[in-house]
C-alpha cells in the first residue's frame, strides 16, 4: 500500500460518473468514493461486484417465515388452544388461513430489519463509530474520489483536472 492518497472533489454526479470511467480507463485504482446520496450506476462504473444483500434478504425472509410458523404453532395450537370464532383450534393445517397475515408480517419484519442491520455491519456503521469520510462537504453537495498514489502524483493530478475536478489535494494515508 502506498502511503499517500489523492482526493478529487466534484460537484456534479454526472461529471463524477464520466470521471470514474476515465480514471479506470487510465488504469488507476479508485480506493473509495464518498457521495451525499446514492449515485445510480456508480457501482457498475467502479467495477464493484454486484451486491449480495438480496440473497441475505431471501434467507432472512425464510427464517422469519419458519420462525412465525413454529411460534404460532406453539402458542395457538400446542400450548394454549383457544376457541376464536369457532375456528378449529387443535389443528395447524385447518387454522392456517388465520395465521397467514402474521406469517407474512414476520417474513417482512425479519427480512427488512436483519437486512438493514447486515448492511450497517457490512458498511462498518455501528454505535460510537466515527465518521470516515475525509471531507465533511461530501455529506452536503460534493462528491469525493480517493485514489492511491504510487509515485505518479503529477500524472494523476493532470488527469483529474481534465475530468472536471474542482479541487485536488494530496494527503498522507492514515
Amino acid at each position: 500500500m502506498s502511503s499517500k492518497v489523492i482526493h478529487a472533489l466534484y460537484d456534479d454526479d454526472e461529471v463524477l460518473l464520466t470521471a470514474v470511467k476515465e480514471v479506470r480507463a487510465a488504469d488507476h485504482h479508485i480506493e473509495e468514493i464518498f457521495t451525499p446520496f446514492p449515485v445510480h450506476g456508480l457501482d457498475h462504473a467502479m467495477g464493484l461486484a454486484p451486491t449480495k444483500i438480496a440473497i441475505t434478504a431471501f434467507m432472512y425472509g425464510v427464517t422469519g417465515l419458519s420462525f412465525s410458523i413454529w411460534f404460532l404453532y406453539l402458542i395457538m395450537i400446542k400450548d394454549w388452544p383457544q376457541n376464536i370464532g369457532g375456528k378449529p383450534s387443535f389443528s395447524f393445517a385447518e387454522n392456517m388461513p388465520a395465521f397467514v397475515p402474521i406469517m407474512f408480517e414476520m417474513t417482512v419484519f425479519f427480512a427488512a430489519h436483519l437486512m438493514v442491520i447486515t448492511f450497517y455491519m457490512r458498511s462498518k456503521i455501528w454505535p460510537f463509530q466515527t465518521a470516515s469520510n475525509p471531507d465533511p462537504r461530501t455529506t452536503d453537495d460534493k462528491f469525493l474520489m480517493e485514489i492511491a498514489v504510487d509515485g505518479n502524483e503529477s500524472e494523476l493530478t493532470s488527469l483529474l483536472e481534465k475530468t472536471g475536478a474542482i479541487e485536488i489535494t494530496v494527503k498522507e494515508n492514515h
Binding site: H40, G41, A54, P97, V100
Partner: protein, 459 residues
C-alpha cells in the same frame, strides 16, 4: 414495419377452425332430454360409489343457490316425483350450459386481457413513463382484440338474455313474486340492478368506453409520429387519464354484472379488484411474451434487456398483488363464516374444484415468486417464457373457477368443449393482434420520450 408471417396467420386460422370444431362437438354431445341425464347419473353412480357422500353435501348447497324453490326438498328422505323431476331438469340445464360456459370463460379471458393491455398502456401514458415508449406499438397492437371481442361478447350476452339461449345467468329465471314457483328472496333487493334491460344497457356502456378510448388514444398516438409539436401527445395523455378513471368504474360494474352475478346469492366487495388484478398480470405477461417474440424476430431493435427486465418486474409484482387479493377475499369470508358468503367457497375449496382453486395459487403466485425473484432471471427469455406460460394457464383457471361452478354445477368437467373454446378465441386473438401490428410502424418515433426509452438502462 411488421409483416404478419403467413406461417403465423395459418396457425391462427388453424386454431380458430380446430376450436370451432371442439366447441361444435361440445354442443352436439350436450344432453338433450332428462332421460339422458338419468342414464348419465346411473352410470356415474355405479362407477363412483365413494363420492355419493359428497353428492349429498353438494345438494345441500344447491338448495341455497338454486333458482328452483322445490329443490330444497331434495335433501329430505321423502322424494316426491315432482321434486325429482325438477332436479333432473336442473341437471339438464347445467349439462347444457357446459359448452356455453366454456365459450364464455375463453371469451371473457381474452377480451379482458386485451382491455387490461389498454389499461397498462394508459397507465404508462398517464404517468409519462420514460422507459416504455419503445413498447407502445406492441401494446397498441394487443388492444386490437377489444373491438371484435366486445362485439362477440355483446352478441353472446344478448343471446343469453333476450334470446334465452342458455341458463348461464340463473338470476334471469327468477321472480320476485312470493307466490311464484321461481320466487327468489335474494332478488327482492337486487332486482332494481339485476334486470335484463339494465344489464344489457350497462354492458353496451362498458364496451363503448373501452372501444371509444382505445380509438381516441391510438389515433393521437399515430398522428404524433409525423407531428412537429406535442399536441397529439398531450391529447393522448388527457384521454389516458380520463380512460383510467372511467375504466375503473366500468370494470367495477362489469365484474359485478358479467361474473359475480353468476352466483347471484353471493357477494364480495373486492371481487372487481380481484378480477382486475388477475387480468392485469395476464395482460402484462402477454405484452412481455409478444415483445420477446417480436424481438427474437428482429422487429424491435430498440428494446433492450432493461425493458424486458421491467416487464418481468411487473409480472412478479402483480402476481403477488393477485395472491394478496385471492387470499383476502377468501380469508375474510372464511373467518366470518356467514352461510351466503361461504356458499361460494363450498364447491371451490371443498368440492371438486379444489385442485384448481388451490393449484392456481402455485401457478400464479409460488411459481412466479420463486422464478422471477432473482434479478438476473427477469430478463432471460427462457424464464419469462416458462413463468409467463404458468401465469397465463393459472389465470385461465382462475376465470374458469369463477364461472364454472355457478353455471355447470358442482362437478368439474374439463375436456374438448373447454379446450376448443380456448383454441378458438386464442386463434382470433392472435389473428387480430398481429394483423393490427402491421398497421403502424413498430417504432413510435414521434413520442417525445422516445429518446429516453431508447437509452433506458436499468442499474
Amino acid at each position: 414495419m411488421y409483416t404478419f408471417s403467413s406461417k403465423l396467420k395459418t396457425f391462427s386460422i388453424a386454431l380458430v377452425i380446430l376450436g370451432a370444431l371442439g366447441m361444435a362437438y361440445g354442443f352436439f354431445t350436450a344432453p338433450k332430454t332428462t332421460d339422458e341425464i338419468k342414464e348419465m347419473m346411473q352410470h356415474a353412480e355405479s362407477s363412483h360409489e365413494a363420492t355419493v357422500a359428497e353428492h349429498a353435501t353438494a345438494s345441500t348447497h344447491e338448495a341455497v343457490t338454486n333458482e328452483h324453490k322445490a329443490e330444497g326438498e331434495h335433501t329430505t328422505d321423502t322424494h316426491d316425483a315432482h321434486a325429482a323431476e325438477h332436479h333432473l331438469e336442473h341437471m339438464l340445464m347445467q349439462a347444457q350450459n357446459r359448452p356455453w360456459a366454456a365459450m364464455y370463460v375463453a371469451m371473457i379471458f381474452f377480451l379482458l386481457i386485451s382491455v387490461c393491455v389498454l389499461v397498462f398502456y394508459a397507465m404508462q401514458r398517464a404517468a409519462s413513463a420514460g422507459w416504455s415508449p419503445v413498447l407502445f406499438r406492441v401494446m397498441e397492437g394487443l388492444t386490437a382484440y377489444i373491438v371484435p371481442g366486445s362485439i362477440l361478447i355483446l352478441l353472446f350476452l344478448i343471446y343469453s338474455s333476450v334470446g334465452h339461449g342458455n341458463h348461464l345467468f340463473a338470476w334471469m329465471y327468477t321472480s320476485i313474486d312470493p307466490t311464484a314457483e321461481n320466487y327468489d328472496f335474494a332478488m327482492v333487493t337486487k332486482d332494481w340492478w339485476l334486470n335484463i334491460p339494465g344489464w344489457l344497457i350497462r354492458s353496451v356502456i362498458y364496451v363503448s368506453i373501452w372501444i371509444g378510448f382505445r380509438h381516441l388514444i391510438l389515433k393521437n398516438s399515430r398522428a404524433q409520429d409525423e407531428a412537429t409539436d406535442t399536441k397529439h401527445f398531450m391529447k393522448s395523455f388527457n384521454y389516458s387519464v380520463l380512460f383510467l378513471a372511467l375504466f375503473l368504474l366500468s370494470e367495477l360494474f362489469m365484474a359485478f354484472d358479467w361474473l359475480m352475478a353468476i352466483d347471484h346469492h353471493w357477494f364480495s366487495q373486492l371481487y372487481p379488484f380481484y378480477v382486475f388484478s388477475s387480468m392485469l398480470v395476464t395482460a402484462i405477461t402477454i405484452i412481455a411474451l409478444v415483445t420477446v417474440y417480436l424481438k427474437s424476430r428482429g422487429f424491435l431493435p430498440n428494446v433492450n434487456d432493461s425493458h424486458i427486465h421491467d416487464l418481468g418486474k411487473y409480472m412478479f409484482g402483480f402476481s403477488i398483488f393477485w395472491a394478496y387479493l385471492w387470499f383476502d377475499q377468501f380469508m375474510l369470508q372464511w373467518y366470518a363464516n356467514i352461510p351466503e358468503e361461504v356458499v361460494y367457497f363450498m364447491p371451490r375449496l371443498l368440492g371438486e374444484y379444489q385442485p384448481l382453486f388451490i393449484g392456481m395459487v402455485f401457478l400464479n403466485f409460488t411459481f412466479p415468486l420463486l422464478l422471477l425473484m432473482n434479478k438476473t432471471y427477469k430478463n432471460k427469455p427462457w424464464f419469462l417464457g416458462i413463468t409467463g406460460l404458468a401465469i397465463i394457464v393459472g389465470h385461465y383457471i382462475d376465470v374458469f373457477v369463477m364461472i364454472a361452478p355457478g353455471t355447470v354445477g358442482n362437478e368439474l368437467h374439463f375436456g374438448i368443449p373447454e379446450i376448443g373454446a380456448i383454441l378458438f378465441f386464442l386463434g382470433l386473438f392472435i389473428f387480430f393482434t398481429f394483423n393490427a401490428l402491421t398497421k403502424a410502424p413498430l417504432h413510435a418515433k414521434g413520442n417525445p420520450f422516445m429518446k429516453e426509452s431508447e437509452v433506458y438502462q436499468y442499474h
